[in-house]
Each structure stands twice: as structure tokens, then as C-alpha cells.
């Protein structure tokens, strides 16, 4: 049945405080079941690639860390790796360790943030408040290393800008214990909760075949049984030398995505601990004099998946072309596979489950397949999602 989209409905009004960025989803429904989904982007388009071509090589990391505030360690690292490949620079070992530590701390804070938001979407505010409370010590560690809670700006071509103060290392190791303890507690609490099992299992399934067909990356792929991880497949920084596991689940539903993220935070704590213990001495950056003509690529496993940067230089002091591809860009189209056929009340959490970075499923309008008129706003969807959880909860009480 064809939908007449004569009037795109853009309700600025119902923006929920937890919705972070502007994005417009148009769902087509037949009764309770979603039959089609349309995604519109570019509310947040800032022209970063063009701005990047007007900046010097050393200034670009500050710009690309602002592509996404939550991936603000991954994007600069991918860019810097691209430039280092271009200019054949090998950063000192200590810088590689510092990069690993910052990237893994970022993964912990990003995954815990997602767990909290997922709890909020299904009306489980306790999970939301807990998760965000336990995220604070991780931000404190990042602040201790880089001086900022987000937007670290710590990586530069040839190494790192700030070193980890050697006196801080024992304290950081000590601070990791309560973090790991709380992560384990949170993981067990989520895995043992019968309501979350009933609410999230079998919801928004992305099959392995679909995951490969849509070329999704990161936890979205790993939850569907596709074991891809840049950290293992093409090791950068110090990941090749440390002991950790790639977490995969087979089910592909929202619950599997939550499990992958929670277990990955435990692996990340393991990585940070090893890196801090093995942290070698020496300088944290090498001097870079000039960038020769050429091209380079860098890719990094961001919390949401693979982020990829391409840089070309003509021998001047600015990149002549800089291309960035963020993981959400390939993960968002998989909604076509995971949302169609779902109930309305499950859509909210399914959309949130890939943790879209540019977009936390903000603009939603539901179009009736028969009449082509707007039925639900975003708030209605959130309310329905919560009512569903409430119904399940009553069954257990």
C-alpha cells in the first residue's frame, strides 16, 4: 500500500530531554504492526569535512573529536592513524598505551550511557539512574588524564598531547576496582531481571544474514553473531599485545545487544587495567616536521562500530581531502530489517538498540497506511513502550 507523503510532519515540540539529536523517522503502520520505516538525516550536518580542509593537520583532531561527543576519542584516533600512515610516522610505545587507555575508558562510559538510556526508553528509571551514577567515576578518570570529561583532545599526529602522570597510575588502578565491581553488579542485575528478559528478548531481531547484508558494525553486528572487531582484525594502538576477548551473541535481539555492551565494559576494564600495569616509560610523542604528499586511511573500533577516516595530502600543511565515515551511518539503515513487522510499543527500544550516534531517534511521526495521516507523536510511542513494560511487570509481581 502506497503512502502519500504530501506533508512531512516535523514536530519540534515533542522533543524529549533524553533525545539528543535531531532526526526524523517516519513509520508506516497497519494497526499495531509497523510496515515501513523512513529515516531522514542531516539536521545535524555541520560540514565537518569541508571545515577540516581549511584547518592545519594539527588542528583537525580538535574538529573531528566534535563529530560526536561520545566518540570523541575514536574519531581523532582514526584521523591521526590515517595521517601517520600517510607520513610513515611511528608514535612511541607509551603514546600507544595512553591511546588504548583513553579509548577503552570511552567505551565503558559510552556503553553504560546506552544501558541507562535503554532503561529510560522502556520505563525502567532505576536502571537509568544507576547506570549514569556508575558512569561518573569513569568520567573522573578521563578528567584526571586529559583534563576534560568529554572531548579529550589528547591525541595528535605522532603521539599524545598529555601524558599520564606516573603518580596517578596507582590511584587509577585503585579506582578501577569499584568501577569493575559496579559494572559486574549492573550486568548481573540486568541479566537476572525476569522483566527485562520478557521485555527485550525476541524484540527487534536482526538476523545474521541481515546483519551481513546491511554491513552493520560494532555491537550491532556482534549481537547478531558476526564476530567483527577492528581491535582484533586489524590491531591498532596496543590491542594486539593485550589479553581480551571479542564478545558475540547469536540472537540479534535487543537483549543480545545489551548483553554484548555490558560484557564489553568488563573487557574494557580488563584492557585498561593491563595497559596501566604495563605502561612503559619514555616520551609520549615524536616531533613531526612535515606531512608529505600521499594518502592514508585509519580505522578504529568506536563504541558503536568501525569509524573510518581517509586523508589525502598534497605536501602542504592542510589535508586536501578528508573523509570520515561514522558507524551509525551503516547501522541506521538496518532498521529496515529490524523494525518492520514489530509492534508499535517495541519500536522505540529497537531504534535505540543500535545506539544511533547522530541521532537518538528523535523525530517520529506515524503514518496510517490506509489514510496517510499522522497518528502518534514521539511521546505517544514512549508512553506505549512504557505501558508494555508495566504490563509485563504486573505479570511478575
Amino acid at each position: 500500500m502506497k503512502v502519500t507523503m504530501q506533508k512531512p510532519v516535523l514536530p519540534v515540540g515533542p522533543v524529549h530531554p533524553l533525545q539528543e539529536e535531531m532526526e526524523y523517522f517516519q513509520l508506516t503502520v497497519d494497526g499495531e504492526i509497523v510496515t515501513d520505516i523512513d529515516v531522514r538525516l542531516s539536521y545535524n550536518h555541520r560540514g565537518i569535512e569541508q571545515i577540516s580542509e581549511t584547518l592545519q593537520f594539527d588542528q583537525v583532531p580538535f574538529l573531528v573529536s566534535r563529530i560526536c561527543g561520545i566518540c570523541s576519542a575514536s574519531h581523532p584516533l582514526a584521523y591521526v592513524q590515517a595521517v601517520e600512515e600517510l607520513a610513515q610516522i611511528t608514535p612511541p610505545e607509551r603514546a600507544l598505551y595512553v591511546r588504548t587507555i583513553i579509548n577503552e575508558l570511552e567505551r565503558i562510559h559510552s556503553h553504560i550511557l546506552w544501558v541507562g538510556l535503554a532503561g529510560h526508553f522502556i520505563g525502567y528509571e532505576t536502571v537509568f539512574m544507576w547506570a549514569w551514577k556508575y558512569r561518573e567515576p569513569v568520567l573522573d578518570l578521563l578528567e584526571a588524564i586529559t583534563g576534560n570529561r568529554n572531548n579529550y583532545g589528547n591525541v595528535k599526529v605522532g603521539g599524545c598531547r598529555e601524558d599520564i602522570d606516573p603518580e596517578l597510575v596507582p590511584e587509577m588502578l585503585k579506582a578501577l576496582d569499584p568501577i569493575a565491581q559496579k559494572m559486574e553488579m549492573l550486568t548481573k542485575a540486568v541479566l537476572d531481571d525476569p522483566i527485562l528478559h520478557a521485555r527485550l528478548k525476541g524484540v527487534g531481531i536482526l538476523s545474521k544474514a541481515d546483519a551481513i547484508r546491511y554491513a552493520v558494525t560494532g555491537p550491532t553486528a556482534r549481537a547478531s553473531g558476526v564476530p567483527i572487531d577492528v581491535r582484533r582484525d586489524d590491531p591498532y594502538a596496543m590491542y594486539g599485545d593485550l589479553d581480551w576477548n571479542v564478545i558475540t551473541q547469536e540472537e540479534g535481539d535487543v537483549f543480545a545487544k545489551a548483553v554484548v555492551r555490558l560484557l564489553e565494559t568488563l573487557e574494557a576494564v580488563k584492557i585498561v587495567r593491563q595497559a596501566l600495569q604495563q605502561l612503559p616509560g619514555g616520551p609520549v610523542a615524536v616531533e613531526v616536521r612535515e606531512i608529505p604528499p600521499g594518502q592514508g586511511v585509519g580505522h578504529v573500533e568506536a563504541p558503536r562500530g568501525e569509524t573510518f577516516h581517509y586523508v589525502r595530502s598534497d605536501g602542504g600543511n592542510r589535508p586536501v581531502r578528508h573523509k570520515a565515515r561514522a558507524p551509525s551511518y551503516v547501522n541506521v539503515p538496518s532498521f529496515k530489517a529490524s523494525c518492520i513487522g514489530q509492534k508499535m510499543s517495541d519500536v522505540m527500544i529497537t531504534l535505540a538498540a543500535v545506539d544511533p550516534c547522530y541521532s537518538c531517534t528523535e523525530r517520529i511521526a506515524v503514518v496510517d497506511a490506509r489514510h496517510g495521516k499522522v497518528l502518534y507523536t514521539y511521546e505517544d510511542l514512549l508512553r506505549r513502550s512504557r505501558e508494555e513494560t508495566e504490563r509485563i511487570r504486573e505479570r511478575f509481581v
Binding site: L10, V12, G13, P14, V15, H16, P17, L18, Q19, E20, E21, M22, S42, Y43, N44, H45, R46, G47, I48, Q50, I51, T54, F62, L63, R66, I67, C68, G69, I70, S72, L113, G116, F128, M129, W132, K133, E136, R149, N150, N151, C357, E362, E379
Partner: protein, 143 residues
Amino acid sequence: MSWKRWSLKRSPWVFHVNTGACNNCDIEVVDCLTPRFDVERFGIKLVGSPRHADALLVTGGVTRQAAPRLIRAYQQAPKPCVVFAIGACACDLGIFHSGYHMVGPVDKIIREVDPHAIIAYVPGCPPKPEAMISGVVRALAAL
């Protein structure tokens, strides 16, 4: 002081608009709600509609696509309404000042529709939650 302004100073309800931010200011805004900072103690509450809001928290420089939506959100909010420009981008576009898709900082867009709008600035990239709370407190004291 009119009673309307006086009423603004007691437990302000805020509405959050993202006009092209990088998520950073937004997660710090949400962070203010969670247990460590917990601004709801002071009656500061995030609400789901600009029609309920005493203040708008605007994050991010305004992109071409977001500008008409920001204006609509501002027009829907009951007046008087304080607009908080949160973060460097909202205050003066920050690092994105030369972007071709940016139409201007928040104050420019709001002043186009209401020259007498009350606008407060919280600089920082991102401002820490403490800075945001301090900005709100100082703006309310200045009303």
C-alpha cells in the same frame, strides 16, 4: 519586577533543544539530572514540551535545517522565557564558525524573531555540569 519574572525564578522547568550539537553538551545536560548532580532537588526539571517550559536549553550552533525548528520551539514557549545558550557552539558557533551549513549562533536566530529575548550564555566545550548549574543560578539571580 513583574510577577511574571518573579515566578520564573522559582523552580524553573527547562526544555532541551539540540540545534546541531555534537552530543556532548546534551549528555552533560542529562548528567545534571542523574544522581551525582541531581538538579531536581532544586525544582529544576526537564520537561517534554516547550509549552511547559520556563527556559530553553539550546545546545549547538544552529544549522540551516534546525533554525526554523528552533524558532518554532521558542515561539511555542510561554513568555517570558529565558534562553540558555549552552556550550561554545551555541554561544558563538565555536569551531564550526566557518561551516557552510551553519546559519549563526543561538542569540542571532532568537533575536531575529524576538529582539527583547532574555538570553544567557554558558560557555565551555562542553561546559561541566557544575558550570551549567552555576549558569542557571546566576542567570536567575540577574532576572
